[in-house]
């Protein structure tokens, strides 16, 4: 197994961290790997593409996008070559089209799970960047376990931090912050890396650093094969930014130059000069309309180490710089220095282990109006690459712990050089996102404040009368209502337990011969109802009320005494309480079967309605038999019948989770099994309220 160590990066550039911090294997694609024996046509051209791609891939990360174009053309000839798929995947990983990487790397692994020694690592990186944290962790672990103990002792593999990042990522993605992140567009961004936005105090110009190709035909940096850094500026025109132009290099440097900050009065600019002392901060002053030659920042801030970004507090008596000078906890750290009485900067002091980590910190920036310092870090609870953090200083001068600005501001890629607006409504920063133009791009973050509810407008015509008036009210009287000769059924509906009257109970009179409701009535506030009876004969009556079990019974009006055109019938209802039971008298089955007879429909519909109108109740439907036959056979039959009832009710739209069914065989008789009538009563289905 080949160990891959971190590449030591150049010290001459402001910012260089690739999306892959551990260099990938440059596995060579051989003809034998690529050529398909029976497919001569197209091979020659495809092989040329492979060779060209290999050249660009070997040159370094800066030309991976170019290598990718060749690899993709070769892939049309043979899309099953494991090594080619691996390389396409790796190329995609370093572009902002990183979401394509997974597909190719998975295919490479599928075709040859030993395609390279770092295939698990690359897969893990692809999953990690695409927020698939579970798969990323699994593959990081697989990569880690592919090393022997000796190898692990000798080299630092460094996936532990990635695994931690994945776990932090899972938390952060689950609690997204409310922002909109807009790409600044192709007038500002390029297909190359663009980063470090610096807004002019007048807010009308945006300076930034870019590694795009320029007319000067700069060389590429050896470390990553990308073009050198240059400063660009774009001017604001309304809501848009004009086409960015390169700012002339006033330092006359052959190395990288970046603009770091502009003083609030716009009379000083702070520059990064990659040529000085491995990278130093310089300052240029505007005097009489002319920018003076940049000078190294004064006094004790000078070091032989690399200093990159810089920030001042609003009073401009404190300075915060990022450096790897002596005293660094690890890599680049944030240091601060104070202006003494003689207007000299004091010895820089490391901000401490609560802020700096063993990983890099970068992109320090002070809020224009508040005691807040923004910076990016690969440590703390970063979800990958650099994440943006904020610390706040209280009135006693104590710094808070760093707070991750959260997803989607931060991503598993590098999110850095964050510059918050004084209103806390906007920020500019650099990120790698799938809406980019290539590499790192500049983005504007819009902070949305708290969640707001959108207002739908729904309108109804509530009254049918208002939609289309009823036909002429005067000459379409039904005519059959003859109040003078009518007979009424009157009575009281009460709670069976308490005797309290029930208002708004509905009484339906059912003509059993015609199978239809012939009259309905509601109780008033005293629980009294009055229904006009079309004819003095026997009717079925159904009484329903909210929160009560329904009641169904025959009313033998033919046998009742008529007093003053009225017959009396009172009803008592049981409240829906847990444990309340009711026998479903009108459910009929075929003999010795669980098949429900059609005449059971009304009762079943009634039961379904009870469940629909009381949407929180849960019922147990139980089947019971008489004692004819074996217990086991009766148990099976009683359970099947209960199940049939449940299935019917569920078919009416009632959730199955609201119903349980049980068969009790002949264990729970309600009448004497020694008589035919008793046995008939014992053969029944009933329900019990389980919860409400």
């Amino acid at each position: 197994m080949k160990i891959i160590k971190s590449t030591i990066l150049s010290f001459v550039i402001l910012f260089i961290v690739g999306q892959i911090s551990i260099a990938q294997e440059n596995v060579k694609i051989k003809k034998a790997d690529f050529q398909i024996e029976i497919k001569e046509v197209g091979f020659t051209d495809a092989w040329k593409e492979i060779k060209e791609g290999e050249k660009l891939f070997t040159a370094g990360m800066g030309t991976y996008p170019n290598a990718l174009e060749h690899y993709l053309r070769a892939n049309k000839y043979n899309s099953d070559c494991a090594k080619l798929n691996y390389k396409i995947g790796v190329c995609y990983l370093v572009t902002d089209k990183f979401y394509y990487a997974t597909e190719y790397l998975e295919k490479a692994y599928l075709k040859d799970n030993n395609v390279t020694g770092d295939i698990y690592y690359m897969l893990a990186r692809a999953y990690h960047l695409n927020l698939d944290f579970d798969n990323a962790i699994e593959n990081y672990k697989a990569y880690y376990s592919s090393f022997s103990v000796k190898e692990l002792e000798k080299f630092e593999v460094g996936v532990d931090n990635y695994i931690r990042q994945c776990k932090y990522g899972q938390d952060l993605v689950n609690k997204p912050v409310r922002v909109i992140i807009n790409n600044l567009g192709d007038r500002v961004n390029s297909e190359y890396d663009d980063y470090n936005p610096v807004l002019h105090p007048n807010q009308d110009k945006l300076y930034f650093t870019s590694r795009r190709e320029t007319e000067n035909k700069e060389k590429r940096l050896e470390a990553d094969n990308k073009y050198f850094e240059n400063v660009f500026v774009s001017e604001q025109a309304g809501d848009l930014w004009r086409k960015a132009k390169m700012v002339e290099n006033k330092l006359d440097s052959k190395n990288n130059v970046a603009l770091l900050a502009i003083s609030p009065d716009a009379n000083k600019i702070y520059l990064y000069n990659g040529e000085e002392n491995g990278g130093d901060i310089m300052v240029s002053e505007l005097k009489n309309g002319i920018w003076k030659s940049p000078k190294s920042i004064s006094g004790k801030l000078l070091s032989k180490s690399k200093e990159t970004t810089i920030a001042f507090n609003p009073e401009r008596n404190e300075i915060f710089i990022v450096s790897n000078m002596d005293g660094s906890i690890g890599g680049m750290d944030i240091f601060y220095s104070k202006l003494d009485d003689k207007e000299k900067w004091s010895e820089p002091i490391n901000m401490g282990a609560a802020i700096n980590t063993i990983y890099d910190e970068e992109g320090v920036y002070w809020h224009p109006k508040e005691d807040k310092l923004y910076f990016s870090s690969q440590g703390h609870n970063s979800m990958g690459g650099f994440d943006v953090f904020v610390i706040e200083r209280d009135e006693n001068g104590m710094w808070s712990n760093p707070v991750n600005l959260g997803y989607p501001i931060n991503t598993p890629n590098d999110d850095i050089f964050f510059k918050m607006d004084e209103t806390n409504k906007y920020a500019y920063y650099s990120s790698v996102r799938d809406i980019g133009f290539g590499g790192k791009d500049l983005y504007k973050v819009i902070f949305l404040g708290e969640e707001k509810e959108l207002k739908l407008s729904i309108e109804d015509i509530f009254l049918a009368w208002n939609y289309k008036s009823i036909d002429n009210m005067f000459y379409h009287e039904p005519g059959e209502i003859k109040v003078d000769t009518a007979l009424f059924m009157v009575g009281l509906v009460t709670d069976a337990k308490t005797g309290d009257s029930i208002q708004m109970a509905k009484i339906e009179l059912i003509d059993l011969e015609a199978s239809q409701v012939v009259a309905t009535g509601l109780t008033d506030t005293s629980g009294v109802y009055k229904i006009k009876i079309p004819k003095k004969k026997d009717f079925g009556v159904e009484v329903t009320a909210k929160d009560y079990l329904y009641f169904v019974e025959m009313v033998y009006l033919s046998q009742k005494q008529v007093v003053d055109s009225k017959v009396q019938a009172n009803f008592q209802l049981d409240k829906i309480d847990v444990g309340a039971t009711m026998v479903l008298n009108n459910i009929f089955f075929e003999t010795n079967k669980a098949t429900i007879k059609p005449e059971s429909t009304t009762e079943l519909e009634r039961l379904a309605n009870l469940l629909i109108e009381n949407p929180t109740i849960r019922l147990e439907i139980s089947g019971h038999t008489d004692n004819i036959g074996s217990y086991r056979a009766n148990q099976k039959l009683s359970e099947s019948r209960a199940k049939s009832v449940v299935e019917y009710i569920v078919s009416k739209g009632v959730g199955s989770s609201r119903l349980e069914y049980k068969g009790y065989s002949f264990n729970q008789p309600i009448a004497d099994n020694n008589t035919a009538e008793g046995r008939s009563q014992n053969r029944r289905v009933e329900f019990k309220v389980l919860s409400k």
Binding site: N182, D460, L463, W465, I481
Partner: protein, 357 residues
Amino acid sequence: MTKSIYAIMKQLLITLLAILLAFGSFSQNNSIEEEIKELRKKANLLYNEGVRFAEAGEYTEAHLKFDESLFIYPEFSDSYLERAKIKILRQEYDLAMDDIVKAMEINDGLGEAFYIRAYLKLLMKDHQNALTDFTHAIQKGYTEPEVYYYRGLMNFELADYNSALIDFTLSIDKKYDFAYAYNERASSKRMMGDYHGAIHDYKQALAYDSTIIVAYDNRGSCKIKTGDFQGAIEDYTKAIRMDPEYYLALNNRGSAYYQMSNYQLALNDFTKVIEINKEYAPAYNNSGITKIKMENYLGAEKDLDKAIKLNPEYGEAYMNRGYAQEFLGKFPDACADWKMAKELGIEEAAKYITECE
């Protein structure tokens, strides 16, 4: 023909008056009573003819019969009432009112007169006085199911939903298949938050009259309240099939799709609503918020501009436009809109305004 009848009747009346003036004795009075009885009988015949014409939809003929009846016997209150009904149908509301008042002067115990006057007031949107008259009609014994139904309508219009519910129930008690009463009772239940009860009543309304389109639409809206979005969409779709121009149901179906996060289907419906009724501001509002969900903030802002242009007092649209502008980073504009929304009564805008400050 009609003129000749008038002439004969007029002659008869004149003759009658002449007799009354010439002879003042008791025996002569008896004879006059007989004459009056005869005239009333004739007027009644004409009245019955008029009713038959009216029931057949021949209102002009009916009107003439009532005129003749009243010419012969000017104290015939029933004829005034029937003539008033025809005038109402012809939308001659002032003339109808004159006839009703005349009938009431002749006989102040006529429940039906109060009922017809109440109905006339209902048509004239005088809901409070209509309610009073419907109640008087009932107190005077006129207790047809329609009286309770219309009084229920008035209670509903006056936002007394409990009383409306009782009236619709009384109306259903008297006429069990009164589909419209079921629909209106369902709406009363809905306004009182009893969505399951409302769904049940809408179902009853449709069982007795499957052509009540609004019952499908309303039932759909109740299903939304119970979380049954799929059921709601099916109901709205039925309403739309019955009346493809029923843009309120389309708007509601779009809203259901919106609440199910099916934004493309929602947008399709809102777009159709706008095609049907370009002046319907809520459709622009809903289209706007759907575009916000689809991250088309500029499109959303444009739709919400239109909604506000159509209805400058549309608080919700200001709220939503503020939201779109926030996404576009136009914070001052967003704040101005939320302030406007608050002025227009959207209280929750207040907390958004604090963000601006």
